[in-house]
Amino acid sequence: MKFRLIKVHEHDAFMNMALDEAIFEAVRDNQSPPTIRFFKWKPTAISIGYFQGIQNEINLELCKELGIDVVRRMTGGGAVVHENEITYSIIAPESFFPKDVIQSYNVICNCLVDALKELSIEAQFTPINDVTVNGMKISGSAQTRKSGMLWQHGTLLYKTNPEKIFSLLKGRVEKNKLTQSQKKIITCIAEHADVTEHDVVKALENAFSKDREIVHGHYTVDELERAAILAKTKYGTHEWNWMR
């Protein structure tokens, strides 16, 4: 099971999602090896799930005021504010993972659990797609499968600003009302360990490399060129982001 590992890079929302899809296509077409990638978002961005209604979920006026980009993902799941967090993606043939979707979430999310353990934080996989610490969400992931490939990406919160998150995500507020949840539901690494972001990235790299043959690599020229096209013609378009 040989994987290319691409160290953390920073891009805008549209290029980040475009790079994921460009890598997906390259791995699917045997042009690139299965890939694990870490990335950050600049400027701050919100990604919404494939099935979410952009106007239902996001305070678009506030996003515009704060210069926050909004992009629709190829994966389902909920909206995520990408700020003070590290995002991963893993793209490989489906056959590398359990056929059962929840079990495959378990396998990949346990890399996050292991990374947190290295940082002395006890966490656990909480189905369907979360990692929690003392019942509070510290990581969420989203997976899709197509063309015999598995593509999963997710976030690991380094710091949180719950007031800002709740002011940006209208849907999150509604969901909490429905679950009548008054308790704190989100946590972050900084609340549990005195570590740097560099330490977190290192722990993630170690955890995702465990039991896998890793080759450190970079984006190929073809992937970067394809991503630039996808960023312009798909992820940066009103047609895609306002699809639902």
């Binding site: 799930g49 099935f51 994966t75 799941g77 909206a79 979707v101 369907i128 849907g171 429905l178």
Partner: protein, 84 residues
Amino acid sequence: MKKIPDGKLVKIDVESDGNKINYVKITGDFFLFPEIAIDDIEDLFKEQPIPLDKAYIIDQFNSLDAQLIGVSIQDIISAIEEVL
């Protein structure tokens, strides 16, 4: 809007003339493979008489070769019925 216990959130927009459904839009934070099948699921409900024939819709959904995660087709039917 419906929160599925231990699952995800489903929001329904529906238009009907009282006798049949004209339009359904399903949004939420659930998962569906392949994602594009959401269009087929929404189409399942178009022109369906009210009250809904659940067995027929479930049968039609099963023929789509689509996998819902975090929500079931029964949950979606139930959410639509709550809105109607």
